[in-house]
Symmetry: C2
Subunit: 225 residues, 2 copies
DNA sequence: GCACGTAATATTGTAGACAATAGTGGTTCG
DNA sequence: CGAACCACTATTGTCTACAATATTACGTGC
């Protein structure tokens, strides 16, 4: 698999034109990284040449991304990067309240001793990162916690839904994570979530997640006003 | 809404090969109606000739349906109708608990007098249908209620998620709706939901939805065992 | 000078052909 | 008689070309 004999003479060394390992991923990353601005039109022919893939391939990629909610497809009028307004971002988090709450509750039920220990260590690392003012690290751990809880819940349906929603709200979430005082509040909430999950208290875990996300919504509202 | 002007001369007389008004919809309906059995392979070329559309069109349709969770796509090995196990169906309903609960809560907040009256009428019709033993009508009203609550919530994100989940669980839900004694229980729960929404009690509405869905899960478990 | 109609252009949607890949059956060698 | 290898078939993935559609610009009539 690593040896695709691509006899293109001068491999587009400089540009992003490497191979074609899932053009979908390349475009998705580009959007999430902000390389393509919200509402920017995505013309199939352009992407096709940019990623040196056929238009058909690009097309399926756009279809996929549209189903993920990252791009908007107007019939016969092309695709554009979907701009997610504050209101929509809040909607997304509201839905996440329900679904992540479920995940946390489930996680608290099927947890091995090793899992619990790992979570507690993660909690300590998060606290440490905030204490050190290392917001980038904290943000990373944050994301990891979300993912870990999804995994531990063993709930494929919920994980799917969350993955989709997550991709959409990354941008807004990012704005928050770079605020020191926000981190100080949020780390306590995350610790509460972990504690509840480790304690095996499903209801407490769900409530902890919900109140955390409620607080995220409030912070977003405040930030934007 | 009731007047879809369908000018197909001999309405889908013999075959399904009418035109191509969204091949996606045709295939989706066929799957939901059970025309294609779970795990049945869906060969692009076959569908192409069946619906007299190009393989490219069929392909995009399958992609779309895969993102809706109705078909499964094995790389290089084709598509098949996704079989949704009892466990998965329960997972789906668990997620719905969270999201439909949110919708009900939202609906209870932004409700005009007309909306409230319409809901109460719907409630009475449902009660009547069950009293008459008209399970088909009850099932229809049931679906309508779900949809109506989604609409009234004015929550695009939640509606999206629910639409996707709904399509997947139709089959299992259907098995329940044809049981008279089940209907008698469920109609009371639906009435409770409507009452809470009309009363503007967000918390009660959410709880009513959740306990209803919990009961659906129990019924499914019992039915299958 | 403004509005309407019409042609030109840009972009997506569809079609058919080709290439790549997974599965299948047969054949031969041990 | 069994197992590995090889060719064959079926099906998907990708590419190029063509048709349909929407947008834009221009010119003409009022």
């Amino acid at each position: 698999m690593t040896m695709t004999v691509q006899d293109s003479p001068a491999a587009g060394a400089a540009d992003a034109a490497t191979l074609d390992p899932r053009v979908t991923d390349l475009i998705r990353d580009a959007i999430i990284r902000g390389e393509y601005a919200p509402n920017q039109r995505l013309i199939e022919a352009d992407l096709s040449s940019t990623f040196s893939a056929s238009r058909a391939t690009v097309r399926t990629a756009l279809l996929e991304l549209a189903s993920e909610g990252l791009v908007e497809r107007l019939p016969n009028r092309g695709s554009r990067v979907r701009a997610i307004s504050l209101d929509e971002a809040i909607e997304i988090i509201e839905v996440r309240m329900g679904v992540e709450g479920l995940c946390a509750a489930k996680s608290s039920q099927n947890l091995t001793a090793g899992d619990a220990a790992a979570l507690e260590q993660l909690r300590d690392e998060m606290i440490q990162a905030v204490a050190d003012g290392d917001l980038l690290e904290y943000s990373r751990l944050n994301q990891y916690l979300d993912m870990r809880i999804r995994e531990l819940s063993r709930h494929a349906t919920a994980s799917d839904v969350l993955a989709r929603l997550h991709a959409q709200s990354v941008r807004h979430q990012f704005k928050l994570s770079s605020r020191p005082q926000r981190a100080k509040v949020s780390v306590l909430q995350h610790a509460a979530i972990i504690d509840a999950v480790v304690a095996g208290d499903a209801d407490a875990a769900e409530q902890a997640v919900r109140s955390h996300l409620r607080s995220v919504i409030d912070a977003l509202r405040e930030l934007e006003s």
